[in-house]
């Protein structure tokens, strides 16, 4: 560093966001007197075009070589100002931002305190800025392929978009079939499109698309690397059925010894399946799978004389010796589309879901009204002994949503509408039924939703405002205890069937995905996006995107929109074929490194290795950093005994002056 530092300090008003609590002029005046500061200015919006021009002009005219911008969080505008100073001809890493908005003006009320703190923070930034070094980002090739985790409607849509654009897609699905939750739905609100009719063509497309490699009944085991270059390891679980040979005829399932004894996951446990099964008739791929937990041969080692499925399979596809297979490949981007779990209604014991068979969830109702469901689309319930058609039906909304007692403060966004839709479907099937919906508020916010809700109400479906406190049994009836809050009347409503409008929750296995990809959760426990408004499908990790309900409850149109957004974002590195990799990596001073290898053991990315160099005629070992693997965390540096390994932009000699600046002003 030969040039003398010439620092420009730019203090932003951010309208009144900053200037209301921080005297920006006083801060600039103070900064002007700091060592090496050539100019200090304020401006109403530093990020605006004129604001940026102000900085650029000063760089050109005053020959500034370091810039400090005191404004919002660097997480917000660091890229903006980096770009600006680069355009003015200086290295983009000669920028230091001072966060005087999110961590100062917005959190303090006293203007004097806010101003004093802002001054200190600016002083620390100037102290660091003087010692910043020029860095160059490197470009590396990006693998023109994407990994999509989860093949519900979000994953399917994203896969199709990326594949249609000409890139390779690896679509990994945990269960034996693609389709996800949408495949379980009967009709979709508000248009009453048959869910299967609009979904199955897409399911078939993604299985037959030449650019999509569909891995059903598989799980992602490991992801390493970075944007453009992720190394992925997938476990294809043993199906015990030869994928190539199985014709999907179904003879095996018909003969299985535990036929109709295993609760079907697809039918929410209301229908039964065999141990060898196809989750549902339209499943893609149409290949059978043996459930290792219920197959007699796999659990007990014996199934009659010979497993029946093996006997009847003409394709000789059954193979009990099959083992899990590990597949490895490289991708440039990843989309997480892992979906949701419906709220477990037994967590609201007052509604008796676990005790009364005639209290069912909305998801179970979907299967019950579906023509392909366990009852062939007939809505029937068991009334103690006999099977009856329910005439008195109550829906309860907000079960497990907007409910602090179960830890879910959020609105699940779909329950009001699916309840309305189910009420409508039952009205079609049982014209003389008495249907009522207990609600807190009805949220019909989407396109055509309010109109649909209005239509349903006119179909003689009563909406009663009240949140039921209890459901209990009286004779053959269920009693819903509730207060009608519009008339302040306590009610005891006797019904045959209660449908709980259960909300959407983060998946129980979400922790697994978090650990795999280092994702964070928002307060509602769904995955956290990079910015709630401007980067709703990005994550904090570059190259990893979110689609669908894993990011928060969504209806189908929003899920598809988000999937398309994620696909288009994921395609940016794939289409460019190149990605910039971070310049803020660790570097070793080989003259002082003693080759102890502590850093080698500490690095979680195996980015450091010991190499032999010649030091004054002696062969010595020193650490060397592979810049493509290093992510710049700096953990190595904190462990280095001789301070030889240092992350660029966060070197000891850059941080210590910051500490001194913050400490010294007593």
């Amino acid at each position: 560093m030969t040039e003398k530092p010439k620092v420009g300090v730019y203090v932003c008003h951010c309208g009144i966001n900053i200037s209301a609590t921080v005297d920006v002029d006083a801060v600039a005046e103070y900064a002007q007197k700091l060592p090496n500061v050539v100019v200090a200015r304020t401006y109403s919006y530093m990020c605006s075009d004129p604001g940026q021009s102000l900085i650029k002009n000063d760089i050109r005219e005053l020959g500034l070589n370091r810039v400090v911008v005191a404004s919002c969080s660097p997480r917000m505008h660091e890229p903006t100002f980096r770009k600006a100073i680069r355009e003015a001809g200086i290295n983009p890493y000669f920028l230091e931002m001072t966060n005087i908005r999110e961590q100062c003006s917005w959190v303090h009320e006293d203007k004097e305190e806010g101003t004093a703190k802002a001054k200190k923070l600016v002083k620390a930034s100037v102290a660091k800025a003087r010692l910043l070094e020029a860095l160059e980002s490197k470009e590396v090739d990006a693998e023109p392929a994407a990994l999509i985790i989860g093949a519900g409607i979000a994953g399917i849509q994203a896969a199709l978009d990326i594949a249609d654009a000409g890139f390779k897609v690896y679509l990994v699905e945990k269960t034996p079939s693609v389709g996800g939750r949408m495949a379980q739905l009967d009709k979709t609100f508000p248009t009453l499109d048959c869910s299967a009719c609009i979904l199955t063509p897409k399911m078939v497309d993604c299985a037959s698309h030449p650019n999509i490699e569909l891995m059903s009944y598989s799980e992602v085991e490991k992801v390493d690397g970075f944007i453009g270059n992720f190394d992925v390891k997938v476990r294809k679980k043993a199906r015990y059925v030869d994928f190539g040979k199985c014709t999907g005829c179904g003879d095996c399932a018909a003969e299985c010894r535990v036929k109709d004894r295993i609760p079907s996951e697809f039918d929410q446990g209301m229908g039964k399946r065999s141990a060898i099964y196809l989750p549902f008739p339209q499943a893609v791929p149409a290949k059978y799978t043996i459930d290792p937990e219920s197959c007699l041969f796999l659990t007990r080692g014996k199934c009659g004389k010979n497993p029946k499925c093996q006997e009847v399979c003409r394709a000789e596809a059954i193979n009990f010796d099959q083992e899990d297979e590990i597949v490895e490949f490289k991708v440039g981007a990843i989309i997480v589309a892992t979906g949701f779990d419906p709220f477990d209604a037994s967590r609201k014991p007052e509604y008796g879901y676990a005790d009364y068979p005639n209290v069912i969830t909305g998801m179970e109702m979907e299967r019950l009204v579906s023509a392909s469901g366990p009852t062939g689309g007939k809505v029937k319930v068991f009334n103690s002994e006999e099977e009856i058609e329910p005439k008195e039906i109550a829906f309860i909304n907000c079960v497990g949503s907007r409910d602090k007692s179960v830890g879910n403060e959020y609105c699940s966004r779909v329950c009001c509408m699916y309840t309305a839709k189910q009420a409508h479907l039952i009205r079609d099937k049982i014209p003389d039924a008495n249907i009522r919906v207990y609600y807190i508020d009805v949220r019909a916010f989407g396109k055509g939703y309010e109109e649909f809700y209005d239509r349903v109400r006119r179909e003689n479906i009563r909406y009663i405002r009240g949140n039921p406190s209890e459901i209990f049994k009286r004779g053959n009836k269920l009693v819903v205890k509730v207060e009608d809050t519009l008339t302040a009347t306590p009610l005891e409503d006797e019904v045959d069937l209660v449908v709980l409008g259960v909300g959407l929750e983060p998946r129980a296995d979400m922790r697994q995905v978090m650990d795999l990809l280092r994702l964070s959760q928002s307060p509602d426990r769904f995955f956290l996006e990079a910015h709630p408004k401007l980067r709703p499908v990005d994550t904090a990790t570059e190259g990893i995107f979110l689609a669908g309900c894993c990011q928060g409850p969504k209806d189908i149109p929003d899920t598809v929109a988000q999937a398309k957004a994620a696909a288009s974002s994921a395609m940016i590195p794939l289409a460019r074929g190149k990605v910039m990799i971070g310049a803020q990596v660790a570097t070793v001073n080989e003259a002082t490194c003693r080759g102890c290898g502590f850093c080698v053991n500490i690095c979680p990315y195996t980015a450091i290795e010991l190499v032999t160099v010649n030091r004054f005629g002696n062969e010595v070992e020193v650490a060397r950093v592979n810049e493509a693997l290093c992510k710049g965390c700096g953990s190595c540096s904190a462990a280095c005994l001789s301070d030889s390994i240092q992350p660029k932009s966060f070197r000891d000699r850059q941080i210590l002056p910051q500490i001194a600046a913050l400490g010294a002003m007593k």
């Binding site: 961590q103 965390c633 904190a638 500490i659 913050l662």
Partner: protein, 143 residues
């Protein structure tokens, strides 16, 4: 300890969780004391234990290091390293006679703006109770 004593606290926050959490506190307009000044580092694992001592030497009355929740580190295990190193430092500080209330470690995620406020309040309160640090001050140099 004077009544108008305001502790000076230096905090090291990891970029991915705690710094983002502190940003969220701002976006949510959560109010907290102005005594804490933040230095952003990429990972809590970057915080050399000597930084903590250095801060005390340079005039801080308390130091806070905050990272992602254990197991949630953006760099996989950096916060585990921090937890070990700084945990050891804390016992060492006690051993050499520095009030342990001057040093705090916390785990604040990107969505825990309110927790950040609580952490700041607790850190400030503890440092206030501990009083102005009169220990091994370095001679003050104005760089």
């Amino acid at each position: 300890m004077s009544a108008d004593y305001e502790p000076n606290i230096v905090a090291f926050l990891c970029n991915w969780c705690s710094y983002a959490g502190a940003d969220l506190a701002g976006t949510s307009r959560v109010h907290y004391p102005a005594n804490v000044q933040v230095i952003r580092v990429m990972c809590s694992g970057r915080v050399n234990p000597l930084y903590v001592m250095n801060a005390l030497q340079q005039g801080a009355d308390g130091v806070l290091v905050s990272g992602c929740h254990p197991g949630d580190c953006h760099y996989m295990e950096g916060n585990f390293r921090a937890r070990r190193r700084l945990g050891m430092l804390k016992s060492l500080m006690e051993f050499v006679g520095v009030d342990p209330r001057r040093f705090h470690m916390s785990w604040v995620s990107a969505s825990e703006g309110h927790k950040w406020k609580e952490v700041v309040e607790k850190t400030v309160e503890d440092a206030r109770e501990a009083g102005p640090f009169e220990g091994f001050r370095r001679q003050q140099i104005d760089w």
